[in-house]
């Protein structure tokens, strides 16, 4: 667990991937452009001494991922958000099946999400049912800008998409994570427009819509939708690494999010392996709101808020019992591997004067 000023903070990294962008998996030039674009985001917002080289970035594998997430106890759990891109990558870029390699080996440490694509029609519904049966997925990551043949994207407020959301509701798949964020070459910028979330969220009040990347570069549209739809949440992936080299900007974005959504609807995510929690968690935990922003927005980035954003809010959505996890992690395989037992040792909060 992350130690912050003598206090433990349980960190759920709500946005991680196990991807494969090796050349022999790429079947379309879009696949190469996509990973190159990811790499630009990586180098732009990663401290120079922590940057990876391109070959390790293409494929880092399960062992390295476990070490990056848990080795220095930066994160306690990770939520897999798949990105299929099967038009670009032979076996897919980061599918539920690929992620399952780790998620089934360490079921206590990972949450495994699925996906759907309404353009797949009845086959897609069947696939969603299959994911539900095989992995009991509690959520889906949706990529509205994904290419499929001639189609360059789809909308969450389409009739066909609603059919899939109904199916999610029927199967008890409650957490819907649409990617609404920065353009990634070669995908179409407009297919990341966040406005389609509005109708979907109001039509499915029992589902939770976690908008990944808080809609950037449409933070304004996102916050306005979230202010009106109580089941809309914001995923901090992409905004988080601003803490490292744009601290004033980070303070401002976080202040806006806390003002419009409140402290219960913002979730931390690293976007691993675009950024690595082994340094990013610390940057976000140690970040401060500027005195000007605190005064202007009347919000705080204090211990209570950090606990919610870094873990408790995700735990709430995914029915994770943090105290139970803490007991389990005292001697699970990962704690043994990295000698982390002490991090989970104190079961009850220590007395105030200890």
């Amino acid at each position: 667990m992350y130690q912050h000023d003598g206090e433990d903070v349980f960190v759920i990294d709500a946005h991680v991937h196990l991807w494969d962008a090796r050349e022999d998996n790429i079947v379309h030039e879009g696949g190469e452009e996509f990973i190159q674009c990811f790499y630009d985001y990586h180098t732009t917002f990663t401290p120079e001494e922590r940057q990876w080289d391109m070959s390790e970035y293409r494929h880092y594998g399960a062992d390295r991922m476990v070490e990056d997430l848990f080795g220095n106890a930066a994160a306690d759990m990770g939520i897999f958000q798949p990105t299929y891109l099967t038009d670009f990558y032979d076996e897919g870029f980061n599918t539920t099946h690929q992620n399952a390699e780790l998620a089934t080996e360490y079921p206590e440490r990972f949450v495994l999400n699925g996906t759907f694509d309404p353009r797949d029609g009845d086959d897609g519904i069947e696939y969603l049912e299959e994911l539900h049966e095989t992995y009991d997925i509690p959520g889906v990551k949706l990529y509205t800008a994904e290419w499929r043949g001639d189609s360059k994207g789809w909308r969450l407020d389409d009739e066909e998409a609603f059919r899939f959301l109904e199916k999610c509701q029927e199967l008890g798949i409650e957490n819907i994570h649409p990617h609404k964020g920065p353009t990634i070459r070669p995908l179409n910028r407009d297919a990341f427009d966040v406005k389609d979330v509005d109708d979907a969220a109001s039509s499915f009040p029992e589902l939770n819509f976690v908008v990944e990347h808080v809609g950037l570069p449409r933070l304004d549209d996102f916050c306005w939708i979230a202010a009106q739809e109580p089941n809309v949440y914001g995923g901090l992936a992409v905004a988080a690494p601003f803490a490292q080299n744009r601290p004033g900007k980070f303070s401002e974005i976080l202040s806006e999010l806390l003002w419009w959504l409140g402290e219960d609807r913002v979730l931390f995510g690293s976007d691993y392996a675009i950024w690595n929690p082994d340094w990013l968690v610390e940057e976000v935990m140690e970040a401060e709101l500027t005195p000007e922003h605190r005064a202007e927005y009347g919000v705080e980035w204090d211990l209570e808020t950090k606990r919610k954003v870094m873990g408790e809010n995700a735990a709430e959505l995914y029915d994770i019992d943090i105290e139970e996890k803490r007991r389990t992690f005292q001697d699970d395989e990962i704690s043994q591997q990295f000698d982390l037992g002490d991090h989970y040792a104190s079961e009850e909060p220590a007395a105030a004067d200890d």
Partner: protein, 272 residues
């Protein structure tokens, strides 16, 4: 606007580079609502008689083709407003669609002709980004008014005519700086409050472009949807203006970062 002067050397009747630069300064990155000169996108201005060539580079090679297109078109049209420019040629560099855009703009094609495969409508994109720029500029204008001491009730009732600079009431400058101020009459002309002109003018320009105001008795400030503002929702509308500004500067942060990363890579490549 400075008066164009003949270029040195050639003795031609073309514009000087400063005049071209002044024109380009009016062109904005539509997503950031900041001048392409200020953002340092312009790499070179070449003057050959009455022909001008402008070369520019965007922060990322995959910056939206629609945005790149808008900037290229606007740059061409602005430079061609100079009386001694017959032809402005725009060259976009280091972009995934540099050929289509450079060719399309210089051959005066439409976006649809330059990009037969594009499924976006550049006019609609421009309308949406202009709308956001208007909201962000309104925030700055209202901040200036609040700082000058006007209250929300007064601000929501202001009309376009209130920003007029009547001949008999000359614009005033405060003692501490030379910034032009507009005298705004409030409380039934009983009080005149000087307010910095720049944010008000910038707002009015975008309010006109976006069509939310046209007549002089139109209410000046609007909700993001374009309606007059109810005094009771003043704070919320103003918050939304702040949010639009934060969004723009956040995107600016991403663009700046990507550009720095790219420049580092070029430097490293140069060192090899």
């Amino acid at each position: 606007m400075s008066t164009p002067e003949p270029t040195d050397g050639a003795g031609s009747e073309g514009p000087d580079r400063a005049a071209v630069r002044d024109r380009l300064d009016r062109v904005t990155d539509p997503e950031l609502d900041r001048s392409i000169v200020e953002l340092e996108y312009v790499d070179a201005i070449e003057v050959d008689g009455d022909r001008v060539t402008v070369r520019f580079t965007l922060p990322t090679a995959w910056c939206s083709p629609a945005f790149a297109w808008m900037m290229a078109i606007d740059a061409r049209d602005e430079v061609e407003t100079l009386p001694n420019v017959a032809d402005a040629r725009i060259v976009l560099r280091e972009h995934m669609h540099e050929r289509e855009i450079t060719r399309g703009v210089n051959q005066r094609l439409s976006f649809a002709e330059a990009f037969p495969d594009a499924d976006g409508d550049v006019a609609a994109v421009r309308v949406e980004l202009d709308r956001k720029a208007r909201i962000a500029r309104q925030y700055d204008a209202i901040e200036a008014l609040l700082e000058a001491g006007l209250g929300p009730g007064t601000i929501v009732d202001l009309t376009v005519a209130d920003l007029d600079r009547p001949a008999d009431r000359a614009a005033v400058s405060a003692a501490d700086d030379d910034a032009e101020r507009i005298p705004i009459a409030v409380q039934g002309e009983a009080v005149v409050v000087p307010v910095p002109a720049v944010p008000l003018d910038r707002y009015l320009e975008k309010a006109r472009t976006t069509g939310v105001v046209s007549d002089s008795d139109d209410v000046l400030f609007r909700t993001p949807e374009g309606d007059p503002i109810d005094a009771g929702s003043f704070d919320l509308v103003h918050r939304r203006g702040r949010l639009a500004k934060v969004n723009m500067s956040s995107q600016g942060g991403i663009c700046d970062g990507l550009r720095e990363a790219r420049e580092r890579r070029f430097e490293e490549a140069g060192d090899d």
